[in-house]
């Protein structure tokens, strides 16, 4: 194990769609399936797969219910999900700063 920030990246979170889900859930506190699907431009099946991965890792909770006669699925970020998102953002910033630093170094 080296101190390189790439080693600190979590495979579950370090993925465009899953990071997007966590980001939206973090800002919204509670977000509906259709909002995620529309904003991340995914099919329902694709989104369900990603949600399953995040739920399996304990990063989100999924709640199903009804609003009137309409079935709804709500996604909420867990504390572990908040920590994982914060860690991913930190590692991404570190990685970018190291890449920029390496780019500026001579030779």
């Amino acid at each position: 194990m080296t101190g390189h920030p790439a080693n600190g990246l979590d495979d579950t979170v370090h993925q465009r769609v899953r990071l997007g889900i966590l980001t939206i859930a973090h800002e919204a506190r509670r977000v509906e399936f259709s909002y995620l699907r529309d904003n991340l431009e995914l099919t329902a099946g694709n989104l369900s797969q990603h949600l399953g991965v995040l739920e399996g890792a304990g990063l989100i909770t999924i709640e199903k219910g009804y609003a009137g006669k309409r079935a709804r699925t709500w996604v909420t970020l867990t504390k572990a999900g908040q920590a994982a998102l914060a860690e991913e953002i930190t590692q991404l910033k570190l990685l970018i700063s190291q890449i920029e630093h390496a780019g500026r170094s001579p030779g």
Binding site: D11, I24, R29, N39, L92
Partner: protein, 225 residues
């Protein structure tokens, strides 16, 4: 250890900028700044006839010679109106949040608003028995903030924080300036034409702000089904 093959979309720079863009999009969808501003503008304008046509009494300090004009009905009007306004605003945000499918941070705003309304009621009741001796200077600042218009400004500051809305923060600071530096042209007497000017100015700032936010946020509302 990471074993997945990296895709171009997983590039750190792109991931970070995509995260920022999504954050901004969610915040835009959560905002409904125009509604509380218009509600408070309506309350402020509605307070004008309440103030104008209700009974008044004067409390004067001997030295310096400073008098405060009290509108009796306002003691009842503002606490009731503010609580009803926060109930309406909370209801509006929750309904909108359900319709859009994205949560909202209305809870801290509602709690702050209700606390401010309760404190305002306490101050109003205390004033009835203990009129302020010297409502100017440093103590005058706290005095002005405890007035209904100041309470609206404080609640709007909380809303600016909850919505992470810099434009609302700037508008609120302008509004608070209008509240803390009231426009007067002489001694305030209930019959004087400028007696109602502060409420007109404050209501106008809220109304124009509400219209501005409504226009700015209109194109970003979700399309009709």
């Amino acid at each position: 250890m990471a074993t997945e093959t990296a895709s171009p979309g997983d590039d750190p720079q792109r991931l970070l900028s995509s995260t920022r863009e999504l954050t901004q999009r969610v915040r835009r969808d959560q905002r409904a700044t125009w509604f509380p501003l218009l509600v408070f503008a309506v309350l402020t304008f509605a307070s004008i006839p309440v103030r104008r046509y209700s009974g008044h009494h004067l409390d004067c300090a001997a030295v310096p010679r400073v008098c405060t004009v009290y509108s009796d009905a306002e003691f009842v009007y503002w606490p009731v109106a503010l609580v009803l306004a926060y109930v309406a605003i909370a209801g509006f945000y929750i309904r909108r949040s359900r319709a859009r499918g994205v949560g909202t941070r209305v809870r801290p705003y509602t709690i702050a608003g209700i606390i401010i309304a309760v404190v305002l009621t306490g101050v109003a009741l205390w004033e009835v028995r203990n009129p302020p001796v010297h409502p100017v200077g440093l103590s005058g600042l706290a005095y002005q903030l405890a007035r209904p218009a100041g309470a609206i400004g404080l609640a709007l500051l909380v809303l600016a924080w909850a919505e992470r809305n810099r434009a609302l923060l700037l508008l609120t600071l302008a509004y608070l300036a209008a509240v803390l530096v009231p426009i007067t042209f002489g001694p305030l007497q209930p019959g004087a034409p400028w007696y109602l000017y502060p409420a007109v100015v404050q209501g106008s700032v809220l109304l124009l702000g509400g219209i501005g936010f409504a226009l700015a946020q209109r194109p970003l509302r979700s399309p009709a089904p």
